[in-house]
């Protein structure tokens, strides 16, 4: 039973943790990019391109966590089976 508890917690908490750190990193990326554009508006095109690339690379780490979620989610047991175990069926 502890195994399934650990599995359910990992499935539930894995992806939000990845999203949290990725959101902080992307916010910092966007804020420094905006500061750079404000300081030198004629470089806006190059800064915007580099910012989009940076955001996509950070986002790909969250996508790895999403793939892990999909892989682990199919190993969770069915609700009826768990209820039968709890009732001692």
């Amino acid at each position: 039973m502890n195994y399934f508890v650990a599995l359910a917690l990992a499935v539930g908490f894995g992806l939000p943790l990845a999203v949290l750190s990725a959101a902080m990193a992307q916010g910092r990326t966007a804020s420094t990019a905006l500061e750079g554009i404000a300081r030198q508006p004629e470089a806006a095109g190059r800064i915007q391109t580099a910012m989009i690339i940076g955001l996509a690379l950070i986002e790909s780490l969250v996508i790895y966590a999403l793939l892990m979620f999909f892989l682990l989610q199919v190993k969770l047991p069915e609700t009826e089976a768990v209820l039968k175990i709890i009732r001692g069926g």
Binding site: I52, I53, I63, Y64, V74
Partner: protein, 223 residues
């Protein structure tokens, strides 16, 4: 979430290739030196911007890699956008297409490094600058070299597969909000976001391939 058969995705990618080939053949007939037709102007605009993109990253040696980088970008963009057409499934939403593309990029950038700088200097470049650090640098470079195609393929696959899954789940909610009377297309904002993601992922894939080629081609003097 059942996996799509690789042969179905391969069939869709062949469809994309045929469509792109027809577009390329039809738009390069009767070329003139100064473009007067709108079709030729559009195609020249696309080729010119792809060439600037590739040369801007790789440098002056990037001229001969422009077709490869440009084809990667257009091909991946077309395959990503095919997933939005009703009835078709994006070929890049399966691991088979993306891994094969990443393997091709891996072969190309290693071959580019070997052809440009020779076989032994390329191995020395893998071993790192101070030669006695080679037992440390060589495994790091080898693992990094394996991580590059892996991350390329999984990034593209994960983004497109995740988008399609979200589309399926939201499209299933169409009749749920006002039960069974009014159809609200709840997946429409995600469709718009998916177009943006298709562009960004094609751009990131081709730009990373160009960066890997430029690192392999530059050799010693760029570190």
């Amino acid at each position: 979430m059942e996996e799509a058969s690789p042969w179905l995705l391969f069939a869709f990618s062949v469809l994309v290739i045929i469509a792109l080939g027809l577009f390329a053949i039809l738009s390069t007939r009767r070329l003139e030196r100064i473009p007067t037709t709108r079709r030729q102007g559009l195609v020249e605009l696309i080729v010119e911007s792809l060439r600037n993109f590739a040369v801007g990253i790789i440098g002056p040696k990037g001229e001969k890699y422009t077709p490869f980088i440009g084809t990667l970008f257009i091909y991946i963009l077309a395959m990503n956008l095919l997933g939005l057409v009703p009835g078709f499934k994006a070929p890049t939403s399966g691991l088979s297409i993306t891994v094969s593309l990443a393997v091709v990029v891996f072969i190309v950038y290693n071959a580019a490094g070997i052809l440009e700088t020779g076989f032994i200097p390329y191995l020395k470049h893998l071993a790192g600058e101070p030669l006695w650090l080679a037992p440390l640098m060589l495994p790091i470079h080898l693992i990094g070299g394996l991580a590059r195609p892996l991350s390329l393929s999984i990034r593209l696959f994960g983004n497109i597969f995740g988008e399609e899954t979200i589309l399926v789940i939201l499209a299933g909610m169409t009749y749920v909000i006002i039960p069974y009377v009014v159809a609200i297309p709840t997946q429409f904002p995600i469709v718009l976001f998916d177009v943006f993601i298709a562009f960004v992922q094609a751009l990131v894939f081709s730009m990373l391939s160009a960066i890997y080629i430029s690192v392999a081609v530059a050799g010693h003097e760029a570190h």
